[in-house]
Structures are given as structure tokens and as C-alpha cells.
């Protein structure tokens, strides 16, 4: 299992692995927002938590089709399916690798980009917490979508269409947690819901992803 994880991480950071693309996209989205809505500090600081969440979500979406597509094309997926690893473990590791190469860098970059959006002082912690708690769910849900569309030509757009509605609860609770934290309101409810979604999807969705992958491989 560790072998697969470390291979995926290695591949991501080597040339052509696409590591950093998501991060660059996140940066560009955050830079473009003020051009779109105007430079008014007060407005920016009010929408900053939501913008950071949307940016992270889109950056995440951008790299989903790579989760299985490359292994599908070069035959690795067939070979992995005959390996002594259950497919459930394989999809979980794939999701973990996606999070480590995409989600985690986004979480770490968010405070820096928060500066560009004049994120209020007290909000940094909550943006960080909500993204750290929510992005794993984005990776796991995205892995399910990637498994659904693995054999399809031009699956990229379909993948977005399938995954975006599934992202709604995570986005709502994540952004709400960041917003409430920033405003100094009670955060317990969204915190619990976001944690529940993350752990729930992490525990259950790999079974659906593995079932879908098995169907696509046969």
C-alpha cells in the first residue's frame, strides 16, 4: 500500500506529473476575483473565505481525471487489479495521493492567498481548519467520479458534471465554517457536519468507487 502511495507521490512531483498545476490555478482564480468584483477591501475581506473555498474546489476538480486515467492508459490499473491489494484499498490510496499532491498544498497556500483578499485577522485559522477538514472529502468524492468515468473518451467534462453536485454539501459546510469562524460566530454545527462528511465519505465511498472500478475493468 505504501508502495503505491509513494509511487503516486513520486510521479506527481516528477516532470509532467502535474503537481503544482492545481496550486497555480488556485492562485490565478484568487488573483482574478478582485479584477472581477473590484478592489474594495471591505467587500473582498467579506467574500474571502468563500472565494478561497471555491478556488480550492475548482483546483481540486481540475486534477481529478488524472487519478485513474494514466494508470488506465498504460495498463497499470489491470495489473493492480490482479495484485494482492483489494480495489477498495487501491481507490483509498489513490484518493490519499490526490489529497497529498493537490488538497494539502491548497490548504497550505490558502493563508498566503488570503492576504491578497484581505482576509480578516481572525479568519486565517478557520479557513485553514475548514480546508484541512474539507479537502479530503473533495478528494474522496472526486475519486468516485474519476472511477465512474475512467474508460470514457472525453470524460473530463462529464466528470465535472457528476462531481460538482456531490461537492455541494462539503462546500456549504466548509465555507460556512470559515465564514462563521471569521465572524466570530458559533462554529460547532458546521464543524461537526464537515467532519462528519469527511469521515463518512472516507469510510463509505471507497466501496462505491471500488465497485464502479470493477464494473469498468471487466
Amino acid at each position: 500500500m505504501i508502495a503505491l502511495l509513494s509511487r503516486d507521490l513520486k510521479l506527481a512531483v516528477r516532470a509532467g506529473g502535474g503537481f503544482g498545476l492545481g496550486l497555480a490555478f488556485f492562485l490565478i482564480v484568487t488573483v482574478l476575483i478582485p479584477f472581477g468584483v473590484g478592489p474594495e477591501t471591505e467587500l473582498l475581506s467579506r467574500i474571502a473565505p468563500g472565494v478561497l473555498w471555491i478556488g480550492a474546489l475548482l483546483a481540486c476538480l481540475l486534477s481529478l481525471d488524472r487519478i485513474f486515467a494514466l494508470d488506465w492508459e498504460d495498463g497499470s490499473l489491470d495489473l493492480l487489479a490482479t495484485a494482492p491489494l483489494p480495489l477498495e484499498a487501491i481507490v483509498t490510496i489513490k484518493a490519499a495521493a490526490h489529497w497529498l499532491t493537490t488538497g494539502l498544498p491548497l490548504v497550505l497556500a490558502a493563508p498566503a492567498l488570503g492576504v491578497l483578499l484581505s482576509l480578516p485577522q481572525g479568519a486565517y485559522l478557520w479557513v485553514l481548519v475548514s480546508l484541512a477538514l474539507g479537502t479530503p472529502a473533495l478528494s474522496v468524492i472526486g475519486t468516485f467520479g474519476a472511477a465512474l468515468t475512467v474508460g470514457l473518451k472525453r470524460g473530463g467534462l462529464l466528470l465535472s458534471l457528476l462531481v460538482l453536485p456531490l461537492y455541494v454539501p462539503t462546500l456549504i459546510f466548509g465555507a460556512e465554517l470559515a465564514r462563521r469562524g471569521a465572524a466570530g460566530l458559533e462554529v460547532e454545527a458546521p464543524l461537526l457536519m464537515l467532519a462528519g462528511i469527511s469521515f463518512g465519505t472516507l469510510a463509505l465511498l471507497p466501496f462505491a468507487s471500488a465497485a464502479v472500478l470493477r464494473i469498468n475493468l471487466r
Binding site: I2, A3, L4, R7, K10, L11, R14, A15, G16, G17, D71, E73, D74, G75, S76, D78, L79, L80, A81, T82, A83, P84, L85, L217, R218
Partner: protein, 204 residues
Amino acid sequence: MDLTLADVTVARGGVPVLEGVSFSLAPGRALVLRGPNGSGKTTLLRTVAGLQPELSGTIEGAGERVAYAAHADGLKAMLSVGENLRFWARVFGLSEIGAALAAFDLERLEDRLAGNLSAGQKRRLGLARLMVTGRPLWVLDEPTVSLDAASVALFADAVRAHLGQGGSALMATHIDLGIPEAGIFDVTSLRARPRAAVQDEAFL
């Protein structure tokens, strides 16, 4: 443990391609599948490897004993030869890759990126992968594609060494490998009569 197929029917996209396939393969033996293109050899091998379910019949002695190699080698261009092999070894719970590198004359290439190999070298690496799985039953689909005569000889030696250690091999290939332990199994006579796909039967 023998690999035993009893009255197996395999299907491609739901359409039966081979039916009544029965044979058994003992340790130390190899079996070469013969048959024209499209006769279902690949489908049979994929079924034995557990990548798709058989339509009917029973397959015993496959499953966790299979190391499968197909047209696609499953190599990562951005990893070196050694890294590719070591990865597959670790997936199968092993770590030693020296013997595999030596058997397929890949030692000098160990640190080269797989993406920079020639087609034949890639193929050799793909076959070397079989040796690091530690699995007794090799299931090989056209293993000698893009190999030159010297490499085919290397491959035949590796297969014989594997058989000598009590392993077995089931392969689809058109060339004569010169392996005395190998039997021939011609699938031509077992081709399924043309009929509709199973998922369509309810609609006919």
C-alpha cells in the same frame, strides 16, 4: 497446485467467444494457446487472470497465484527501470529485483527512465516484472511482441527457470519458444457459435 479449467465459457462484451474450454496445467509445465486473431485468446487469459468473470464453468488454481502480463506493460515513463520494478515488487510484498534485472539483461539500464527505453527494452522490463511478483502462475498475452531473437532467448530461459522452480506458464504466442515443457492448446475448435450477447438475451 494445478490450474484447472472445466467447461469454461468466456465472453467479450457479453458475446461468448470460446466455450467448453477444459485443460489443466501442472507445476513445472507451460501451455501455449494457439488460434487465429480474434479467436478469444486474450479474453481467455483475462478471465484466468480474474479481470473479468467467466460466463460458465469453473476455474481453479488461478486467483492469487496469477502474475499477468498483457500488451500494455504498466510502466511509468517518468520512473527509472529500477523504480518501476521495485514498485511492483513491493506491491506483491517482495523487495528483491536483482535476479529479474539480470535475467532480462536490464542491469545496465537500471537507472534509466522507462520512458527513454526502446520498445524491446520496455517489453523486457514488462516481462521482468513477472519475476518480482513471486507468483507461481504466469499468464502471458503475446509476450514476445517487439522482442529480437536474443531477447526471445532470454525470455525463454526465464520461463524455463520459472518452470524449473515449480512454476507454470499459460501464454498466447505465435512463435516457437523452444521450451520442451510446453504443450500446445489450440482454441480454434472451441470458438463459440455466433450468438447474441448475454445482456441482450432478454430482448430477443
